[in-house]
Symmetry: none
Subunit: 199 residues, 2 copies
């Protein structure tokens, strides 16, 4: 895979040259990039410019890795969703950079270490909330529904117990059952779920 660095700096950063001595450098992309590896330096680039660049490169058949001066989660998500296959810091060390083409060639994806984990955690959380969007309180028993509704109203266990005239312990028992059935972790996620259901 041939390496192309696209940067406003007009020159290869030292680390890049060290990693890939015979890489090409340019300020913009042109022509077919089939099976090429394009490194996009996001420094001095507006969001839209970067997005457009990614789109052009992937359309031209390239594998795209974005090098950001300020790696951030939301940024990584945006960039990868637009077709980039990798996301790293511009100052990533040469020997690390060299690993990236190897990973990509084998169908892998490369993300700034740590970013991946936190990214997936967020995804999971959002996923849990939106995918269970089936509005399903129907799997709950009458009593459980009552408890769930109250939680959705922001009530504490003690308040729920008083409202339903049962023990706090019983409220907890119902909650445990509810969490299990709706596959949520705690009352916050339950509250969110309940309120989304009565849209």
């Amino acid at each position: 895979m041939d390496n192309f660095f696209i940067t406003r700096a007009g020159r290869l950063r030292e680390r890049w040259r060290e990693a890939f001595p015979d890489a090409c450098v340019a300020e913009t992309v042109a022509g077919s990039l089939d099976n090429k590896l394009v490194w996009l330096d996001a420094s001095f680039l507006e969001r839209q410019e970067l997005d457009a660049m990614i789109e052009r490169c992937t359309a031209a058949g390239a594998n795209v890795v974005v090098l950001s001066p300020t790696p951030a989660e939301a940024d990584a998500v945006r960039v990868m969703a637009r077709g980039a296959r990798g996301y790293a810091h511009v100052f990533t060390r040469a020997d690390t950079l060299r690993q990236i083409p190897i990973v990509l060639e084998r169908g892998g994806v490369w993300l700034e270490p740590g970013l991946m984990a936190s990214l997936l955690r967020i995804t999971e959380r959002l996923h849990a909330l939106s995918s269970g969007h089936s509005g399903d309180l129907s799997s709950l028993t009458e009593r459980e529904k009552a408890v769930a509704q109250l939680v959705g109203g922001g009530a504490s266990n003690r308040e729920i117990a008083q409202d339903l005239d049962i023990t706090e312990r019983t409220v907890k028992a119902h909650l445990t059952a509810i969490f299990e059935k709706l596959e949520v972790r705690d009352r916050v996620q339950l509250a969110i779920r309940v309120r989304d259901c009565l849209n």
Copy 2:
């Protein structure tokens, strides 16, 4: 990296043996797995069992790849968020399987082709939904808004701390300020408030 296949089938599937002739096979995990590559066959495994297995393996220092009989986006997210580094179909071809350790060794992550893209697209959409609209949180400082949004997404204090790269204690400090400003008692009511703002 030594290969361990954990499967209920009790034997190596042909493709696995073809890919890694000298791999070990077992029905369960034991001992230190430092720097080992553990392949978890998700067939015939309950969700909880799989999760527990992943946790045990990663805790023991292993790299975990989950092989699913029915690859799905939500499943992949769950599994990766729990610490797996790869996710593939159980019937993945031998030559493709062999690429995976190479990717992992170099800090990459391996996902069933196509899964990654659609996964990130969804993440982005959800991200936009939950971060774009900030309703009547105008009295909050930037940092407080960030915390509030995450609570609205159902995050725990620990998760918020990790996401924002601060201490749990700081999260609590922000929360105390938020509760005061928005006149809510706890995170449940805050979550409700936040979500009502962006309906």
